[in-house]
């Protein structure tokens, strides 16, 4: 069989178009956030928009390259990529450069790359390959355990690098596992545990435990008691109590001061307008002052005059909110949703498991970034420094998201031939 080049018609042009729109819009937002009337040159390589432009060119080139290679390569070398990214992560401990309190960067010339970004697609490939293997049944507990281990390994290394935000992104793989057969109640339990965890930070654990006991007694009084139900209820209360106590212990004794502050500010327990709260406050001011139609491109005073910290990276959405207002923000969210929906449709139409699982990994990662990043600028999520895919300034992020996306486009373009090649 000759090498299967994708026909232009089989490439998903909607996704590709949206990718281009996002990348260009992102560049303009980065330009707006550091724009000064005295230096309007967008090609200035000293400025981050100039560097971003360079990264876009590199990404486009890489994207094209991916479209041209044989898609079987990704399946064949999935574990290889995973291994490489894990090695890169480990390498940061040896040759990592310390930037802003995190040692997750590797310096190459005047650029720095962040292996944590690339670990996402390595993990996505590995997970997809493992779960699409022969005789792999997700109902098997061993399969579940190995899947989780694949996810947990890079997550743990990144946590050790002090990059809580990037580590949390790996939680998004739980959505993939859900799609592949993880029972829904487990996710619900996960969400409940999260709610209980937040409550543990807000209220003294003792009160929560007392509250849980009261609810349990009330529950038992109302239902027809069987021995099993009584034991089960008592077991749940004991487990929840232990969980709440341990959350409190971790918060007080394991977490670092700046992490505690961020969480406290988010929970409204602490108003710190100079520190972590300042970012959120300024972000809300920038977005809120945009009004219905915004102040116009390059007219946003809050962004232009540097009131929003990290505005070209984590807080890039502020520029959209301020300069294009509610309408612009609505358009952005709609396009992003359209993008996610389209990717999900693409994932569902795959005929082999590997492609589908990989597609869902991509969707989950993008959604998680959207959830946290936009929620953070709107003051609904903790200030966790993760970028907005395709928009935020940063070469590693743009490159890794481009690779992640284009591999899927490449896989999808070949779906017609899949019957022949696999089954």
């Amino acid at each position: 069989m000759t090498q299967q080049q994708p026909k232009p018609a089989s490439i998903d042009w909607l996704v590709l178009t949206l990718y281009c729109v996002f990348v260009i819009a992102g560049l303009l937002c980065i330009y707006a956030s550091v724009y000064s009337e005295t230096n309007p040159d967008i090609y200035d390589m000293d400025k981050n928009y100039g560097k971003q432009l360079l990264w876009i060119v590199v990404s486009a080139f890489l994207g094209l390259l991916i479209l041209l290679v044989d898609e079987k390569l990704f399946y064949a070398f999935a574990y290889g990529f995973y291994g490489i990214t894990i090695l890169m992560l480990l390498a940061t401990f040896a040759i990592g450069a310390e930037i802003k309190g995190s040692s997750s960067w590797i310096r190459i010339g005047s650029f720095q790359i962040q292996p944590a970004e690339f670990a996402k697609f390595g993990t996505a490939l590995a997970l997809a390959k493992y779960l699409s293997g022969y005789n792999i049944d997700f109902k098997n507990w061993k399969v579940k355990a190995i899947s989780m281990a694949i996810i947990a390994l890079p997550m743990a290394i990144i946590l050790l690098q002090n990059e809580t935000g990037s580590a949390l992104v790996f939680a998004s793989f739980s959505l993939v596992l859900y799609r592949e057969g993880l029972p829904g109640w487990l996710l619900v339990v996960g969400v409940l545990l999260a709610v209980l965890g937040v409550m543990a930070l807000l209220i003294k654990p003792l009160y929560i435990i007392i509250g849980l006991a009261v609810i349990a007694i009330a529950f038992l009084a109302m239902v027809r008691r069987t021995q099993l139900l009584v034991f089960l209820t008592i077991g749940i209360v004991i487990f929840a109590s232990a969980y709440v106590s341990s959350i409190d212990y971790v918060f007080e004794n394991v977490m670092q001061a700046h992490q505690r502050t961020r969480i406290n500010v988010l929970l409204g327990k602490e108003v710190d307008l100079k520190g972590a709260g300042y970012n959120v406050q300024q972000s809300l001011i920038a977005i809120g002052s945009g009004g219905p139609i915004g102040k116009g491109f390059l007219e946003g005073t809050q962004n232009k005059f540097r009131f929003v910290p990290e505005q070209s990276t984590d807080f890039i959405f502020c520029t959209i909110g301020e300069e294009f207002g509610f309408l612009g923000s609505l358009l952005f969210i709609s396009l992003y949703m359209l993008f996610l929906w389209r990717l999900m449709v693409m994932a569902e139409r795959q005929r082999n498991k590997f492609n589908r699982i990989y597609g869902y990994s991509l969707v989950s990662i993008l959604f998680f970034h959207f959830l946290i990043n936009i929620g953070m600028t709107l003051g609904l999520m903790p200030v966790i420094g993760i970028p907005l895919p395709f928009f935020s300034y940063g070469g590693s992020a743009l490159l890794s998201f481009t690779i992640l996306l284009f591999i899927f486009i490449r896989l999808d373009a070949n779906r017609v031939n899949e019957l022949k090649s696999f089954e």
């Binding site: 799609r179 001011i285 809120g288 540097r306 509610f326 949703m337 709107l378």
Partner: protein, 621 residues
């Protein structure tokens, strides 16, 4: 099948989150306006543009007060980099410890921020500013802001012009936020009464600043900016040359001079001695100078002409002559004998030797005490009134119509009322119906409880010169070229004495100067009408008092001079008044150099003359 449901659930979660975020955006961007204000607070900085304060000129357009630049040194701590502290301290003239203390102090101030400019040193001297400017590049984070302060061309008329100073917190509160910390405001004199006109209107400029408070441009191209309106130019009624001569004549004496143009009520000159150099209230030592002046026992800050009450002494006889005639108990030909004074029962009021008996005109000329005791007695014990109180109250009303015992309404801050006792005052001392003319006889010759301010004396002289009316004395002639800005100062206030009673009194006053007690004040060719006063007082030697107007017909100047504890009215007050009349009417005062010399050298402060007076001591500006 199950997987399709799961896909729908996942999609549902995505849409739910998107929906929550859209709702959040809706509240932030559309329903809540507060973020727009917060954004403006972030980037908009209000800069005040200070208007130039109005100039002050004399009646002949001679410039008296103008504005001068002062230089305040500001520091923005965040921008201070690589500062050579030693060099900096040397230029500013402070020690390293002071430098550290200064920074500590700045940090404790309200509203301090590392990125905001704070005052480091107020009002640098010109020399310091020049040196600093050369080295500005070495002192990053420091900046000099230029403001204007007053500068006085002459050392004269300090009390009239008053001074400006920084607003107090109370003034800021009362101004509804117009004034800000560090603004200048008129504290006394014309600067205070005409603050509104002189102060102008501050302008505002809105500047966009970045998060470090660095200016980035104009807000909406200056659409909301307002222009500062400069203060108005004010012409005072005083004649600078006359004022200068008067202050020279009054040096080393304590007392007052007030000269008024009778036909207009314009104050031509007003001297409070001892005075001070108005430039003392300029610059960074103004506070120290103020404290020095406040501690000075001769009270140079006290505005004597408008606030200090003196017993008028014999000049009061002129007033009594007019009131007596109006009350029809005195006629030009009424004559009383003088036997070395006034005797009634055990009461004796002494008098000096002169011809006797005399009619009214002659009695004024020689200032016969006995005569005016008789006049006072007939006025107060007038049988026309049922009770003494009624007659006395009538006298009180007459005096009030001459402007005595009440504020005249001059446009200066701190005017006093003087003191004319009411009938009830004597009721309290002696009991109702237990007093009469003889009990209060000293009032007849301007002694006793009577207290008249020099301004009131000059005003009464103007009234006599006008044969029956006065116009409220005032100090501002025109504002921005507009004459008589206050209509109140055009009104003729008629006294209760008929015009027909004035000529005989005025003739008597002319005799006083021609061949009476104030012969020394005579100027050939100018008909001066005056009256001396020698007022006894509890503080020591008699006050030397003289009031006069000239020329007799169509008078141009009315003047009152009080020299405290200086003896006879003719010795000091009359020559000073005479020289000032000469200066004003002939524009020179060189015909009697001996008199000028005696007046200027006379030291009546009862302390040795220091090398120079306070005023000249500090006039190195």
């Amino acid at each position: 099948m199950e997987s399709q449901i799961k896909q729908k659930i996942l999609l549902g979660v995505f849409i739910f989150i998107a929906f929550v975020y859209v709702i959040r955006l809706l509240t932030l961007q559309i329903f809540d306006d507060s973020y727009i204000r917060s954004a403006q607070n972030n980037v908009l900085q209000e800069q005040t543009i200070y208007p130039a304060r109005g100039l002050l000129m004399d009646r002949n357009n001679d410039l008296l007060v103008y504005n001068d630049n002062i230089y305040d040194l500001f520091v923005t701590p965040e921008q201070v980099k690589n500062l050579d502290t030693n060099a900096f301290c040397e230029v500013i003239g402070i020690t390293k410890q002071e430098f550290i203390d200064r920074f500590e102090k700045i940090k404790r101030q309200k509203g301090y921020a590392i990125y905001r400019p704070s005052v480091f040193e107020k009002q640098l001297t010109m020399a310091t500013y020049a040196r600093f400017q050369e080295m500005l590049f070495d002192f990053q984070g420091f900046d000099v802001v230029v403001r204007t302060d007053r500068k006085y061309k002459y050392k004269n008329a300090a009390h009239i012009m008053g001074y400006i100073g920084e607003v107090t917190e109370k003034m800021i509160e009362n101004s509804n936020g117009y004034y800000r910390m560090g603004d200048f405001i008129g504290i006394s004199g014309v600067e205070r009464t005409y603050e509104k006109e002189l102060g102008g209107i501050k302008g505002v400029r809105y500047v966009l600043v970045d998060s470090k408070s660095r200016a980035q441009g104009r807000y909406k191209d200056g659409e909301f900016d307002t222009v500062a309106v400069a203060g108005k130019k004010i012409n005072l009624t005083i004649d600078q040359k006359l004022q200068e001569l008067g202050e020279q004549l009054m040096q080393n004496k304590i007392g007052s001079v007030v000269a008024i143009e009778p036909s207009s009520g314009e104050i031509l000159s007003m001297i409070s001695s001892p005075t001070y150099d108005p430039n003392l209230f300029v610059g960074r030592d103004r506070g120290n100078h103020y404290m020095d002046l406040l501690r000075d026992p001769s009270k140079p800050l006290f505005n004597r002409p408008i606030a200090a009450p003196y017993p008028p002494g014999s000049i009061f006889k002129v007033i009594m002559s007019l009131i007596g005639q109006q009350e029809q108990v005195l006629y030009p030909n009424t004559a009383y004998g003088c036997y070395g004074g006034f005797n009634s029962g055990g009461l004796h009021v002494g008098c000096h030797a002169h011809g006797s008996p005399l009619p009214l005109q002659g009695a004024i000329a020689v200032s016969c005490n006995a005569y005016f005791c008789h006049v006072y007695r007939t006025v107060v014990n007038n049988p026309k009134y049922r009770r003494v109180e009624d007659a006395y109250n009538k006298l009180y009303d007459h005096l009030a119509s001459f402007g005595m015992g009440r504020k005249l309404g001059v446009d200066l801050y701190g005017e006093g009322t003087g003191f004319v006792p009411k009938a009830t005052y004597y009721d309290k001392i002696y009991g109702r119906n237990h007093w009469q003319a003889l009990t209060t006889i000293s009032l007849g010759i301007g002694q006793g409880e009577l207290g008249i301010t020099p301004l009131q004396m000059a005003n009464a002289t103007a009234l006599v010169a006008n044969r029956g009316y006065y116009i409220t004395p005032h100090i501002v002639k025109s504002i921005e070229g507009k004459k008589n800005p206050n209509p109140e100062y055009n009104v003729k206030h008629w006294s209760t004495v008929d015009t027909s009673y004035f000529p005989v009194v005025i003739n008597g006053m002319e005799d006083v100067v021609n061949h009476g007690t104030a012969y020394i004040a005579k100027i050939p060719g100018i008909a001066i009408c005056g009256k001396t006063g020698t007022a006894q007082n509890p503080h020591g030697k008699d006050h030397s008092i003289f009031f006069a107007f000239a020329p007799k017909d169509n008078p141009k100047i009315a003047i009152a001079v009080v020299v405290e504890n200086a003896g006879f009215g003719a010795t000091w007050a009359a020559p000073i008044a005479s020289l000032m009349i000469e200066q004003y009417l002939t524009k020179k005062h060189d015909t009697r150099p001996y008199l000028v010399e005696r007046m200027m050298k006379g030291n009546l402060t009862h302390k040795p003359i220091l090398n120079d007076s306070t005023a000249t001591k500090t006039s190195k500006h």
